[in-house]
């Protein structure tokens, strides 16, 4: 098991180094002059030349990369071209908002998708299965921005039940502000016993989280159903049935364990992808997350921010995959020897 773990960690480090080289090259060969962006839209030629030296852009590319990696090793992701503030602190400010949203979305997707997938697999071809499959296809295929607008129209405009956008109401921001501890507003408000802020944060979270949940929900239903159908056909499950075990016990207690590994992998990949792939949802719900930050960085040619986000997301991908691999190895001993 230790050998398996070490090998995975080393592979992860290699992936990250490769990622840093790729993003460094792509961002540097992309058209545009970062020095001109640094000094602003109406800078003089002298100001741009001065910025070129300040940013070290007059040095050879390999030297620039070496400096970047040295800084990276010290936790320094450089300064934002747009705001001149440290990229690391900006990412630290935006990341919790995305994490709170994506975690909530994935939790909703798992809580609804997992049982639905199991129930659909238990009576394949039945009415319940048909409904589950239809829901799964719909939730995967519906464009997220369209779903976001639809939810806003129904729950904000028509029913007036839930807020339109933002993380908390402006009255809370002005009168009952939440002190930042974790950056998760629901958690921070709870820790401070600020109930007004907690309910406001929770209400604001519902619609974007449901929108985020749609895609992984469909995937989970499909994956769980398909995997479980395979497992149910195996001899040991048939034996359990012959021994008189109840259908639900077989499905949830025995068969699901064997059907989980591919689903876990999909959830982990969807989670990491969602962190930056939720730009449209963040945009519609005005959610100040990493997707918004990344989109802004790309639009403004802010290469330190683009690289910083890429590295952070890369780390999250690698860590999540490692965790999933370890969990799967724990569930299925055969994996350890592959």
């Amino acid at each position: 098991m230790l050998h398996f773990f070490v090998r995975r960690v080393l592979l992860g480090v290699l992936v990250l180094i490769g990622l840093s080289v790729l993003t460094f090259i792509i961002t540097r060969v992309a058209p545009g002059d970062p020095a001109a962006l640094w000094v602003g839209p109406r800078a003089s030629v002298a100001q741009i030349e001065r910025a070129t030296v300040t940013l070290g852009l007059n040095r050879p590319l390999p030297v620039q990369y070496a400096i970047y990696m040295d800084d990276l090793a010290h936790g320094n992701l450089g300064l934002s071209i747009e705001t001149h503030r440290p990229v690391s602190s900006e990412i630290a400010s935006y990341l919790p908002a995305s994490l709170e949203l994506v975690v909530s979305g994935i939790v909703i997707a798992i809580l609804l998708g997992l049982p639905l997938g199991v129930l659909a697999a238990m009576r394949p071809g039945g009415v319940f299965d048909a409904v589950a499959r239809l829901l799964a296809v719909l939730s995967v295929s519906v464009p997220t921005f369209w779903l976001a607008f639809l939810l806003q129209i129904v729950f904000f405009k028509d029913l007036g039940l839930l807020p339109l956008a933002g993380r908390v109401s402006n009255l809370v921001i002005a009168l009952d502000p939440i002190t930042r501890i974790t950056g998760f507003m629901t958690v921070d408000s709870l820790l401070q016993g600020n109930w007004v802020a907690f309910f406001s944060a929770l209400r604001h979270l519902v619609l974007p989280a449901v929108t985020i949940a749609a895609y992984p929900f469909g995937l989970i239903v499909r994956m769980v159903r398909a995997s479980l159908l395979d497992v149910i056909a195996l001899d040991h499950v048939r034996l359990l049935r012959a021994l008189g075990q109840k259908r639900y016990t077989i499905a949830f207690r025995y068969a699901l364990k064997n059907a989980l590994p591919p689903t876990l992998t999909v959830i982990a990949l969807t989670f990491a992808y969602s962190l930056t792939g939720t730009f449209l949802v963040e945009s519609v719900f005005n959610w100040p997350g990493l997707g918004n930050y990344t989109a802004q960085a790309v639009i403004t040619n802010n290469y330190p921010a683009v690289m910083g986000v890429t590295i952070v997301i890369g780390v999250i991908y690698v860590v999540l995959n490692l965790v999933v691999d370890l969990v799967i190895a724990g569930i299925d001993p055969r994996v350890r020897y592959v």
Partner: protein, 524 residues
């Protein structure tokens, strides 16, 4: 079993309704019992730069709440209003400007503002040389003969009152914290100005929250907003819905289609004011056949001005008369302008020896700007009618600008479309930046080098510090010269269209401070 399921469904529904009833309610756009909260939603990031010396971006909407300048310019009356300076005078030669400061003004940390603070602020901004620091280029030295008197000694006459009222590079701030915490203290997200509002909270990606500064020299009698929230809301439809539902007090940009829809809302009103921003298309005068004035005049006559104003700008613009926009001093409505005349354009092209179908041009504009894109498409269709083939190419701003600065003029675009707006209320900003001879290409993207023109506008700028009437005459002559030489198409002068709640009283859309609400002056 069925009952259990039904109960679960009902419980979930009740939970949603219960959740909707929890939390604070009410409109933040209006006054609550004790606190009036003003909410400003901007389409883009609000606090880009925090350092008042470097500030040169969208933070212009929040800076005037935290900081003040010596003067404030009012284009309606063409007068300067007192701000941190209560009065000022200039010597006859325009080389010495004396400002008398307001007494008992305090910074947000409680320290008293004196002439030394003014000197330190402006000198630091000049030394850093970032953003719009060039507005102080004429300043040779700053003296502080008394605690409340500041004297600017200039190397050449210049309208320093306009610089002193600029929303960029003219903020007065306390330099004491910099000595204690280092020069990056402001840039990290701190402030120490004298404005009516002070910082309550901010971090990247989170709204900026300001609260009333109790020690403000103006006092807090009467109705004022006491808390301000500046947030970024990228989606215009979200901003429009927030405005309609009373969650917003102000937003800086809405598409014209949405404005038309919002006009029907009984709780909202629309204001229209000339903006000091215009759209222009610069010809590459260094390459054939655009180095021929006849061709440039023909292309100017082929531009569908009114169609662009009507269909693209929904009527919220007027055709330009030269580069100085309507509403800014120096603009002259009697100056000549080109009119859409395809027959005339065709005839001019014939005179220049251009055969139909033989002229292929490339126009670049900034990608993502719908108005530029639509204007370019209409121009392309118009040119096609006289046998000119136009390729309209959208480019990211930096790429567009880099192409325009290519060493070889023939590698550059034929026509460069862009907006311009002044850093401060001075027509020289348009004429100098866009048409003054440059040794290295910067913003003169018509590559128009004319020493007679240069002399005229330089003299006008000098005179504007002494004799405004004479300066205006010279600017008129310079603009007439541009009409005759046609280095650019002066397309339209934009208008600011705002949709605001009817409850917001005292709002004045001052084009000298684009997108700024002076929140202390408005009442909830």
């Amino acid at each position: 079993m069925r009952w259990r399921r039904l109960a679960a469904v009902l419980l979930a529904g009740a939970g949603l309704v219960g959740l909707s009833a929890c939390g604070s309610s009410g409109s933040t756009g209006s006054a609550t019992t004790k606190t009036a909260v003003g909410v400003y939603a901007s389409y883009t990031q609000v606090m880009v730069f925090w350092d008042p010396s470097d500030s040169y971006s969208n933070e212009i909407i929040a800076m005037p709440q935290m900081y003040e300048t010596l003067l404030r310019y009012d284009p309606k009356t063409d007068k300067f209003l007192p701000d941190l300076a209560t009065s000022y005078s200039k010597s006859q030669d325009g080389l010495t400007w004396t400002f008398h400061l307001r007494h008992n003004v305090h910074f947000h940390d409680g320290s008293l503002m004196t002439s030394q603070n003014v000197k330190d602020s402006i000198e630091r901004t000049m030394q850093r040389g970032n953003g719009a620091a060039y507005i102080w280029d004429a300043v040779k030295s700053i003296a502080t003969p008394s605690k409340y008197t500041v004297v600017f000694n200039l190397s050449t006459p210049s309208p320093i009152d306009f610089a002193a009222a600029s929303p960029y590079a003219a903020w007065i701030f306390n330099t004491a914290p910099l000595k204690q915490h280092g020069q990056n203290w402001y840039a990290k997200g701190h402030e120490d100005g004298t404005g009516p509002y002070e910082l309550q909270s901010w971090s990247s990606g989170q709204p900026l929250v300001l609260k009333a500064f109790k020690g403000y020299w103006g006092g807090w009698k009467g109705d004022h907003y006491t808390k301000l929230i500046f947030e970024t809301v990228g989606s215009s439809s979200t901003r429009a819905q927030m405005l309609q539902s009373g969650q917003l007090t102000f937003t800086d940009f809405l598409p014209y289609q949405q404005i038309e829809a919002l006009k029907k809302d009984a709780n909202l009103r629309v204001t229209v004011t000339p903006a000091w921003q215009n759209l222009m298309a610069f010809f590459n005068t260094k390459v054939a056949p655009l180095n021929n004035v006849l061709v440039r005049k023909a292309l100017s006559e082929a531009f569908p001005y009114q169609e662009v104003i009507t269909s693209v700008m929904h009527g919220y613009a007027s055709q330009s008369r030269g580069p100085i926009p309507a509403g800014l001093w120096g603009h002259d409505p009697s100056l000549p302008q080109y009119h859409y005349n395809l027959a005339g354009a065709k005839s001019l092209l014939q005179q220049a020896g251009i055969k139909p179908g033989s002229l292929n041009l490339t126009l670049t504009y900034t990608a993502g700007d719908d108005n530029e894109s639509a204007a370019a498409a209409l121009y392309k269709a118009s040119l096609a009618q006289i046998g000119v083939n136009l390729t309209a190419r959208p480019m990211p701003w930096v790429s567009q600008w880099n192409l325009a600065k290519a060493t070889n003029p023939s590698q550059r675009q034929d026509i460069f479309m862009m907006y311009w707006w002044p850093d401060y209320a001075n027509p020289y900003s348009f004429l100098y930046n866009l048409f003054h001879t440059e040794s290295t290409v910067n913003f003169n993207l018509a590559y128009y080098y004319n020493s007679s023109f240069d002399k005229l506008i330089d003299q006008a700028n000098t005179d504007s510090g002494i004799n405004r009437g004479q300066a205006v005459k010279l600017y008129d002559q310079a603009q007439t010269m541009l009409y005759q030489d046609a280095p650019a198409i002066f397309i339209f002068d934009e208008q600011h269209v705002r949709v605001i709640p009817k409850s917001l009283k005292g709002y004045y859309d001052n084009p000298a401070y684009t997108n700024v609400v002076f929140w202390y002056d408005v009442t909830p």
